[in-house]
Subunit: 295 residues, 2 copies
Amino acid sequence: MTLELEDHAFLRELLGDRGVAGPGDDAALLSVRGPLLVTVDPLVEGVHYEPRTSPARIARKLVNRNFSDLAAMGARPDAVVASFVFGPGWGTRRRRAFYRAVDAAVRRFDAAWIGGDIATGPSTVFTLTAFGRAAARPVRRSGLRVGHRLFVTGAIGASLASGHHLDFEPRVALGVRIAQRHGPSAMIDISDGLALDLWRMLDASGGLGARLVAPAIRLRQGRGRERLLEALGAGEDYELLFAVPTGRVDRVRADPELPDAAHEPIGTVEAEPGIRLAWPDGRVESIEARGWVHV
Amino acid sequence: MTLELEDHAFLRELLGDRGVAGPGDDAALLSVRGPLLVTVDPLVEGVHYEPRTSPARIARKLVNRNFSDLAAMGARPDAVVASFVFGPGWGTRRRRAFYRAVDAAVRRFDAAWIGGDIATGPSTVFTLTAFGRAAARPVRRSGLRVGHRLFVTGAIGASLASGHHLDFEPRVALGVRIAQRHGPSAMIDISDGLALDLWRMLDASGGLGARLVAPAIRLRQGRGRERLLEALGAGEDYELLFAVPTGRVDRVRADPELPDAAHEPIGTVEAEPGIRLAWPDGRVESIEARGWVHV
């Protein structure tokens, strides 16, 4: 509460009268036409970032992680509300640097921070709720059919080691383009590892399976089987995994706006449940997606 | 993540296909027409409730606190998204009892839990984002004018001692009625103490003041000056504090749907900044609202 009073004026100045009701009221007002997409994700200190991380990087990860979820539905961010619980180590300067960085990260996508709540607690948890508008029909996870080809918008793996998990760019423009141009049957952002997120799509689509082509999957760092298996389970890639019917594959390949990685399918949806990894020498190995869960 | 997998099927069964996109997608879809009110509030274990509190009471407080914010804008709850970070002490049974109770608390108001996220962390923080629709024009904090009369929908004080802070009923129907029938110039829910929340309205209305009539303020427990001063600063009352122009006072008094407590004004807005408390013997004392902040 002391915290709230201390920060209230600062936030009011920072946010201005963005929402119709603005940050000073009990609720913020969103003026909406048509369907609105909503996503919420927490950032837990010690779990999603180390306590010594700069406030600017923490803020970017918080915002970009949520915007990546909207991108996966083919939606653009529109507004956010925030709930920040500050634990030890968050003095006034650090809090203000954080607020400014959150605001900047939101504005980069022409979205607005319209309200929220701040409190103190035994440990730090930042929660952001983001609102978006789908340019086309929102893309769900559940539309896979046998024969659909799978694509990824970039390299995967080594996200923690490389700092990618803090500094990634959410694939907002790509998500919208894919939704508008390529009629994807399903799309998801890879936050918990390609294997697990692919399994989620397959599961949501009625319990299908997939065969992945090992050499078609690009790695952020290193090469070889061990690294690929690691990368498939590691997570925090924040690339988009999507599928299209075979008739649309050539258009995806030829789209100059898609990154190179997305010009070659990484695999095919199959009727047999489970995920299989095919190697150039003909070997095929099973991947136990659910066993790979990291904590 | 293990937690998420373990709970995912349970939640899918509990929530069904409520949102158009539902809890299995990266974002939930809200079908909206017209302006949407959004509020977000965290419940921090050890701050907002004691760790031994039953999951059902924690769930009710989480939901009702957010719905009280909507009520203060004259809005009815429509949907919620949740982000739950579970710390130690939250085994499977306790988590499931909590999920069920959150869902039940939301449904009691004909609203729907449409999506969210679950994670683990060093301590427990539950964050709920609630969406509402205003029956009339949303009521803000900033519309007070000199001479407006102040009303409260119930007794205040002793919220922690009495368990009221866990078991209160959010004033949703009353908030809507007040907004529709009585043209309130401002309304707020009393979460941080009548003194501080009144100060917030006065501040948002351009730095006005107020004179409160001591005997008109009802106390939940006890009586006398000490108890009243305590109650004014204590908070977690979750009653609505609202104001109307003098021409509307008689209609408020005569409204049979308003509780008794709301039939007599508790004070008047004045031009002189600050909050004053007037006693029957003619004494008037100043209340330093900002100094009363509890942590």
